[in-house]
């Protein structure tokens, strides 16, 4: 290959779409490194503190699409205090100053300010795609800037962000000349929307294929929008409430019949179940259905709806569907690949919750299942073993018993064997979350069998350091490990310090590691940032080394301790 001109190499590299492949290619030799870096357009940075924007820009001058992730995953569950970090501003500033022609920016768990959005909107003439997932720190004013200034905007996708909603006028900021939208998702906005602007925007966006509305968009507007955008592929309804005897509803029924392209359906943030039959005609075409926010649909209505959805590949649903409902899913949706069952009443007694019965039924009816997130009242080893046998193709398996240390209710034993069966059977398992009563044994199984495991989430499990050691020693491909409330201490933490440089990050909270352990690790491994989150002044000004550390987050980095850490975060 060295005799080929660079263009040929570049052309070959073009076929490599996965960033891991491109990373691998760049390690072959310096020639390949050079060709690869000049031709790379998409970069994925899993931890924004692992590298600096300047280094990114230097290495990849052709960058067009950047994905950044900020806070640790457990921030989703309120374990990370606000102001921890993850600011996108320095990235946008650096990119704006450079000659990078950024076109796409995808952020997850980052803090985005209106100022950042404004700067972003003004700095990149060709900016096309903005995707914000679980971000915070901005308001609809920032969105207004994006709408107004990004002349070629194609995608504005806001997923589950905390946005301060100042008004619905941001939608009106899309100029009349903006006709390039392909995807617009503002379902997470809580405030009012200028409905007329929305209708006009849809009317002048002939390429719109994905539209997800928020709660403020009533059914009448939905009907009008669908009239203008019958080619939609992905639809998220807003408020789906109306009198089923009304003319508006009848109009909707007719309009929906024209929307033969819809494959993804979501929303129903408010819903009148008697209006659901309007969507039955399109259910057969659906490959993805997200009813996880539709708290207003009872189990029996859910079941009626599901019966129409034979081609589903992805289903997100609330546990009020019940085990019986899951059996209907199992018999109807034989193509199902991904299932998520969320708790509808997380802090209650859970009359509606699902159990192992539903999961086993799914495993039998849906052999193609490869991704699972399942919140359940209880789980048994026997069921997990059955599921493991029936569905050996799991890539992601996340099980959450609502009571985090609940044993197998039939045998009162830990769920070690059940999860052991899962890891043993599912050879391609990359992500695993455990719950229920668990001893060191389950970690032994994981260490032995989970060869492809990249991410492991553990809570309230294990008996001793051995548990963590099994995992660190056994899972060669481990990248992210997050642990809370487990009896793992310094011995486990320090047993294989080199391991952490092969991983993206390690989170340990409410475990047994002490300040001494963290300090020691930090001293020995200069290319790791070992951060302690010290909330509520748990540690005094001169804390003792023997004191337990409440929250520790460590990650590999090329740029040393971060400079934007707040007071309560100590970098050791």
């Amino acid at each position: 290959m060295n005799y080929f001109p660079d263009e040929v190499l570049e052309h070959v590299f073009d076929f490599l779409t996965s960033h891991r492949d491109r990373n691998a290619v760049s390690l072959v030799c310096s020639l390949w490194y050079r060709v690869e870096r000049f031709s790379r357009q998409r970069v994925f940075i899993g931890n924004c503190y692992a590298i600096s924007p300047e280094k990114l820009i230097t290495r990849f001058p052709g960058l067009k699409s950047l994905t950044l992730k900020g806070k640790p995953h457990f921030a989703d569950f309120n374990l990370v205090p606000p102001d921890w970090g993850g600011y996108v501003q320095p990235w946008i500033e650096a990119l704006a100053k450079s000659r990078i022609g950024l076109e796409e920016l995808r952020l997850k768990r980052m803090v985005v300010s209106d100022e950042s959005l404004e700067l972003l909107s003004r700095s990149f003439a060709n900016f096309k795609t903005l995707v914000l997932v679980s971000c915070e720190g901005f308001t609809t004013d920032g969105l207004a800037a994006i709408a107004a200034n990004c002349r070629f905007l194609r995608e504005l996708d806001l997923q589950e962000n905390e946005i301060d909603d100042h008004s619905g006028h941001w939608l009106s900021c899309f100029p009349d000349s903006c006709t390039s939208l392909t995807s617009l998702n503002f379902a997470c906005l809580k405030g009012e929307i200028n409905l007329a602007s929305l209708e006009r925007l849809v009317a002048r966006s002939p390429n719109l294929r994905s539209l997800r509305l928020n709660r403020a968009v009533p059914l009448e507007t939905l009907q009008k929008i669908l009239m203008r955008a019958p080619l939609l592929v992905d639809l998220g309804t807003g408020s789906y409430v109306h009198d089923p005897d009304s003319e508006t509803y009848n109009k909707l029924k007719t309009t929906i019949l024209k929307c033969k392209s819809i494959r993804n359906l979501s929303g129903f943030l408010e819903v009148a179940p008697r209006c659901l039959p309007a969507i039955f005609p399109i259910c057969l075409n659906l490959t993805s259905l997200n009813l996880s926010y539709a708290a207003g649909i009872h189990g029996s209505e859910l079941i009626k709806l599901i019966r129409h959805c034979a081609k589903l590949q992805r289903l997100w649903i609330l546990d009020c569907i019940g085990d019986k409902g899951l059996e209907v899913v199992a018999s109807t949706c034989n193509e199902l690949q991904e299932l998520r069952v969320f708790p509808s009443d997380p802090f209650g007694v859970g009359h509606d919750a699902v159990t192992e019965i539903g999961l086993v039924a799914i495993s039998i009816g849906c052999p193609k299942l490869h991704s699972l997130l399942y919140f359940c009242q209880q789980m048994t080893n026997a069921a997990l073993i059955t599921v493991a046998r029936n569905c050996p193709n799991f890539i992601r398996f996340r099980l959450c018993t609502l009571d985090p240390t609940r044993p197998d209710p039939e045998t009162m034993e830990p769920l070690d064997d059940g999860f052991g069966a899962i890891v043993q059977s599912c050879k391609f398992l990359r992500r695993l979350s455990l719950s229920g009563l668990l001893t060191d044994q389950v970690f032994r199984y994981i260490g032995m069998y989970a060869e492809q495991l990249e991410m492991l989430s553990v809570a309230f499990a294990g008996n001793s350091d051995k548990g963590m050691l099994y995992v660190l020693n056994g899972c060669k491909k481990l990248r992210k490990l997050e642990i809370r409330d487990c009896p793992f201490g310094n011995m486990a933490l320090l047993s294989d310090v080199g391991k952490y440089e092969t991983m993206r990050s390690l989170w340990m909270s409410s475990c047994e590691v002490t300040l001494w352990g963290c300090k020691t690790l930090a001293k020995v491994m200069p290319r790791l940032n070992v951060e302690i989150i010290n909330e509520h002044d748990q540690m005094e000004i001169c804390p003792e080394d023997g004191q337990r550390v409440e929250k520790m987050y460590l990650y590999r980095t090329l740029v040393g301790p971060r400079k934007d850490a707040p007071e309560f975060v100590w970098n050791l």
């Binding site: 457990f74 569950f77 309120n78 374990l79 679980s134 589950e160 809580k190 709660r215 009448e220 409430v241 009198d243 943030l269 408010e270 179940p273 708290a295 207003g296 009872h298 609330l318 059996e327 199992a330 708790p343 509808s344 009443d345 997380p346 802090f347 209650g348 007694v349 039924a361 495993s363 039998i364 009816g365 026997a382 073993i385 046998r389 029936n390 050996p392 959450c400 009571d403 985090p404 240390t405 039939e410 045998t411 034993e413 830990p414 064997d417 052991g420 069966a421 059977s425 009563l437 001893t439 044994q441 199984y445 260490g447 032995m448 989430s457 008996n463 020693n473 409330d485 009896p487 409410s510």
Partner: protein
Amino acid sequence: MEGSAGNHEVYPQFLDFIPKEREWLVNRDGQRRHGPSEEKELELRLGPPGDQDWSMRDSTRKNPGDKSESLLSLGYFSSMTQNISNGSQNQMFSASENPVGAVISSPWSSSAYGYRGKTLHNQQQTKVPSFLQLTSPLQGLPVVAHEASQRCCTEAVDIQGAEKKAFSPSSATTAVPNSSQKRTAPGPVVGWPPIRSFRKNLASGSSSKPAPVSQNRVPDKVASRTPVETCRKGLFVKINMHGLPIGRKVDLKAYDSYEKLSSAVDELFRGLIAAQQDSCPAGNQNKQEEEKALTGLLDASGEYTLVYEDNEGDMMLVGDVPWHMFISTVKRLRVLKSSELSALSLGSNKEEKVRH
């Protein structure tokens, strides 16, 4: 080789410890024959015949105390479909025996769940290690679905009796988290269950910011089943007053009749009107009208009249329909000058009531 053929003593499998017996169709995964360092300590090798580590019958080689290794037997949960592709490997076992030795007969094949699990017949009950023979009276626990498994599969688990015994009690002890462990999660735990805050408010069905009370609320089955329509707590609609640039919001749920709504509107705007009139330099208003109550809102007998915009976008006079119907269709309210009523288009479906 492995003497698996004739020698099926009852090897207690860890699955034995599940009190309700189950039958499992288990296939040996012949491919797991690698020997990474982690496995060296494990006596059991998952290998084809000839791998001398394979010893299902041998009760001598184990250290009974080492219960952890016995659990290796956890081993063979590869599915039938996988096994089929590794077909050749399976023949090492059970060649002489009935291949379906490990088959399960599912007493609940006629279970209500209606899944496609098929029933397999257990033919080798006496020869098959116990965990494979287990029939489960446990209702509804479907075990196997893949009947293509007519092939063999003898189990491959190898657990020594001593280990079995060792396991049970130990599992009993490990099952109980010792009190020194703080892991037992009492009551509501921060960040558990692990769902994003966006989802936590669903049960209350509210679109407003998370209510702190939701964490501890006693589950209200009825409430959680209530469709999240306008009948949720707090129906706030905008209300604009003629001449006032800034509107207000009223919670219609707080009232149950038009009279109460009317007096609430009166209170809301009375002060504002007075303030505005004050700022009007000239005008016909005299001081007497300061703080004058807004009366006659509902029958157009006063200076102002209450109208509303319904869910079809039409402007309607307030008061015609029963209160509950009004609540379900109202989208916003307006307080207009009665003298302007005739100039506006009122609801097309309703009889026009032009009043002066």
